[in-house]
Symmetry: C2
Subunit: 558 residues, 2 copies
């Protein structure tokens, strides 16, 4: 199939995505339900079998500049994946090979590149169950979440990035006639033909994370690719497989459309290789997308000076509780946000500010202890049964997270303890329920640090005005991916909105149903803002795509 045929095949999907980004209305191009009614009776079993067939094998992918193999993945559910990948030992050779096809890719033009990318998404979608298993057993997400966040929603975020890049590249026509009237009536006009070409910046580097290997990598990958840049994908050593499948599909479609398959490559490593740092400062790398911790994110921003760097790092996600008319629903909603994937989302709430005197509810004032109890009860209902609990919690992604929650009593007053959950299917899985810790406003040294994992702080403050000030100040200095407020007062909501604008963070107000502060919907919700220290970019706005390419023009008399 030609790239143009790919574009024509998926044109409708693209146009619907473009429209959704404009209206911000609900849209999804990839069904989030793993039901057999949607995907067919055998899809789940086939996907699982495909995943299992990869275990213990050499992944069928060749990477230029590699020598030998690495096998670095262990499922948080307690077994080694044993998949081997080429180990990159000569980064310069890899980057040279990556750049080899760039000119042909540039000259193919925006529509061809977008067509190829949309076909890649379609084929990734066809492997969604296999991908979901790969995401589950690298990130530790429960299967349904891995299917949704790691599959359908990741595809929607990828499509969103492609849609934004498509709009950006086609805001200027490929050519135009410019006719300037002569200085006097009847005098000859000046007529020029002008050509505008999208040119790439250079090689793009995508640095994946352990917890959301697809959702967090695909937007940058596809935004860079469709704008003409070759992409080197450097996965987290703990979550290679989902991106290896991604690269495999990219190469398959690129080759089929007549392009150099090494326009997308997988750069696997031993954790000690520090490959990302080496690649990131190479002169030919002009774009970097990174998701991960602040230390390396800040290092990249400081050191990869030859590149435009897009980072999503960490912050302290905040909830301000002032009052509610739905106490139980509020507790339920918050408990779900703490429990979902064991709090291992960059968007999971951590700091909950509330008045030391308690909050107003439909049942009168509830003390801090009663709020903790309400959330604890909600957690108990959700997570009391081990078999059901693991479907929400998934597994703990690494020992650092486990150690953090297991030593939670060193952080403050444990109001709701964490519980060890036995996984009914995976005896060696590490599973924990969230802990709720009581602090007060003076404990800034504790709550101003991100405590990644299932730990939330109930922080007593002198009152809501003080809570809002703490929120504004802490997020301005330490960053946040999300914020939420519960209040029945219009004044408090207005003050919180103002503080959220000042702090540059998205705000969720009085969530009590099936929408959670840690979830964002593609095409409608921005993920990150670029306006506070937690991230310098957003999925997806114009700034996320516009600097990934340049317009270069030529002109001539007509």
């Amino acid at each position: 199939m030609t790239a143009q045929a790919m574009f024509d095949k998926h044109r409708d999907r693209l146009e619907r995505a473009v429209r959704a980004c404009e209206t911000r209305e609900f849209h999804s191009a990839f069904d989030e339900s793993p039901s057999p009614r949607v995907y067919g009776e055998s899809a789940a079993a086939d996907g699982k079998a495909a995943f299992e067939a990869l275990l213990g094998q050499a992944f069928p992918l060749a990477t230029p500049g590699s020598d030998g193999e690495v096998a670095t993945e262990r499922s948080p559910y307690g077994f080694d994946l044993g998949v081997t990948y080429p180990r990159v030992t000569d980064p310069a050779a890899l980057l040279e090979a990556a750049a080899a096809g760039m000119k042909q890719w540039r000259d193919a033009g925006p529509q061809a590149r977008v067509g190829v990318a949309l076909e890649i998404l379609d084929r990734l979608h066809a492997r969604i169950f296999e991908l979901a298993n790969a995401v589950q057993h690298t990130s530790g997400q429960a299967f349904v979440m891995a299917f949704q966040a790691g599959g359908a929603h990741a595809l929607d975020r990828a499509l969103e990035a492609i849609a934004y890049a498509h709009v950006e590249m086609t805001r200027v026509p490929a050519s135009a006639v410019w006719e300037k009237p002569g200085p006097k009536p009847g005098s000859e006009p000046l007529r020029m033909e002008k050509t505008y070409t999208v040119v790439p910046r250079g090689v793009a580097l995508v640095i994946g994370c352990n917890t959301f290997p697809t959702w967090n990598s695909w937007p940058g990958l596809f935004a860079s690719l469709v704008t003409g840049n070759p992409v080197v994908v450097k996965p987290h050593p703990g979550a290679v497989l989902p991106l290896a499948i991604t690269v495999q599909v990219c190469q398959e479609v690129l080759a089929e459309a007549g392009f150099d398959p090494h326009l997308v490559t997988l750069a696997a490593e031993e954790p000690t290789d520090r490959l990302a740092a080496t690649l990131a400062v190479h002169p030919s790398v002009k774009l970097i997308d990174f998701t991960g911790g602040n230390a390396f994110g800040d290092w990249l921003e400081d050191n990869a000076r030859q590149a435009t760097v897009f980072t999503e790092k960490a912050g302290v996600n905040t909830v301000v509780i002032d009052s509610t008319d739905s106490f139980k629903a509020m507790c339920q909603n918050l408990a779900f946000s703490f429990a979902l994937y064991t709090g291992q989302m960059c968007t999971a709430p951590q700091n909950v500010y509330l008045p030391a005197d308690g909050i107003t509810t439909e049942d009168g004032t509830k003390s801090v202890a009663e709020v903790a109890e309400g959330i604890g009860n909600a957690l108990g209902r959700m997570l009391g049964d081990d078999a059901r609990a693991v479907e929400l919690l998934g597994a703990v992604v690494n020992d650092d997270v486990r150690d953090r929650v297991d030593s939670v009593d060193t952080r403050g007053d444990v109001l709701v303890p964490s519980r060890v959950v036995a996984h009914p299917a995976y005896a060696d899985a590490t599973v924990r329920t969230p802990a709720i810790v009581g602090l007060d406003a003076a404990d800034a040294t504790v709550y101003e640090e991100e405590c990644f994992g299932p730990v939330a702080y109930l922080i007593s403050t002198p009152g809501t005005a003080s809570s809002i000030e703490l929120f504004r100040d802490t997020v301005q200095r330490r960053g946040a991916m999300t914020a939420a407020v519960y209040s029945t007062s219009d004044e408090v909501i207005a003050a919180m909105r103002d503080a959220a604008l000042d702090a540059g963070v998205a705000l969720s107000e009085n969530l009590h149903g099936a929408v959670f502060v840690n979830q964002s919907a593609a095409y409608s919700d921005f993920h990150g803002t670029g306006a506070n220290p937690a991230a310098n970019a957003s999925y997806t706005d114009g700034a996320y795509v516009a600097s990934r390419f340049r317009f270069v023009q030529s002109r001539r008399h007509l």
Copy 2:
């Protein structure tokens, strides 16, 4: 007048500019002809009188954080302006005052901000003759050029930047309803109301240059202002007045619309104060627009890490001559480009590569000496008469430029000497005609450096293929704002287009009429590309505006 009334008043002008940016067709909102038929019989005299009334006076503008006054301007036509401006001595106080009105400005929303900016343009337009005098007597541009480039075209570039920013801010609606269907047919949908707010990055700093104080400063100034950022304007000490008038008009309109006038401020200094460097690294400065030399531009990119930095620096603008069927017209066109404003444009051509064996023309082969002679003759026709010459050349902006052209014989073989021109009206003006110097391909140490001013190199190469390779390589390493080619061969044109895409520079092909390589038309031609070392940004593309603000959202159940 309210900001909304200002928006309504200028809505048509905005919409026409937006459309022109999309079609890239000819457009102008501000007439470039200084004719009395367009601007009225008394406009020229009134503008001159207004300019003259400012000379020797304290400019009526207060700047927070200032103490005492500076008077740093001398006309290249040979007299001191004697205008005094507040000298900034407390940059932190200035930045604090600049930021004071930011929140109100943010909350006013995109339409109000764009309305204010459009009204500012309208009032600057009403003072266009006064501005043209100010530009003439700071930059040294001849009056008509100062009127056009410093007035009408600068207004068009400003409007273009506003149009781009307006589109970018309104790509996302102010609010939207998001309705996700329930999981089963007939089940209750999830309904959310979402609000999207444009939030500024922080204080913006605009660092002006001596040669194009308005044309090069206004795009960044207005792009930052309409996206919600206060703007501190730091003019070049040699060209303060055009930006002082700009700031005065900005403050007048801001105050009239009910905003803090210090949202735009003038930061004047003694040249030794190094005020730009101090302001540039202050934590509250988040955006910087700079036009000027590579040394300080590179320093800003390296050191102003807290800010997004847009730079237009210098490069080696290149012409490749292969062949022509209009030898005289080609020589005429090139001569005009060398002579216009004494080669003191960042877009003026410097390096002309041509085969050592000569070029093919409609009159047979012309040797390098004959090409030099052809250009020399054209220069002679244009510049032979002093009174006419100064209308094209203007005056030499500073002693560095004068010294460079006066010592041109140290650079190579002078093929066309520079001539001292006596200005008929200004006895103390420094005026020179361009020099053409012969080099060959081995003289890279000479021609790889920008020689700002009226010096062009005719560089003999082994042939056109070699010329194109030199062009590609030199521009990739040293940058360029413009490039041109003359050839009757489709293959050569194709090869040159390809090289221009690789080098990331705009290409003009076979210009022989009234379009010149150093001129770019707002709405249609990009100025700079951001794709080579001469500039990291372009007037104006999406990347130039998109990162000047962020979207911050809030959401709630419906």
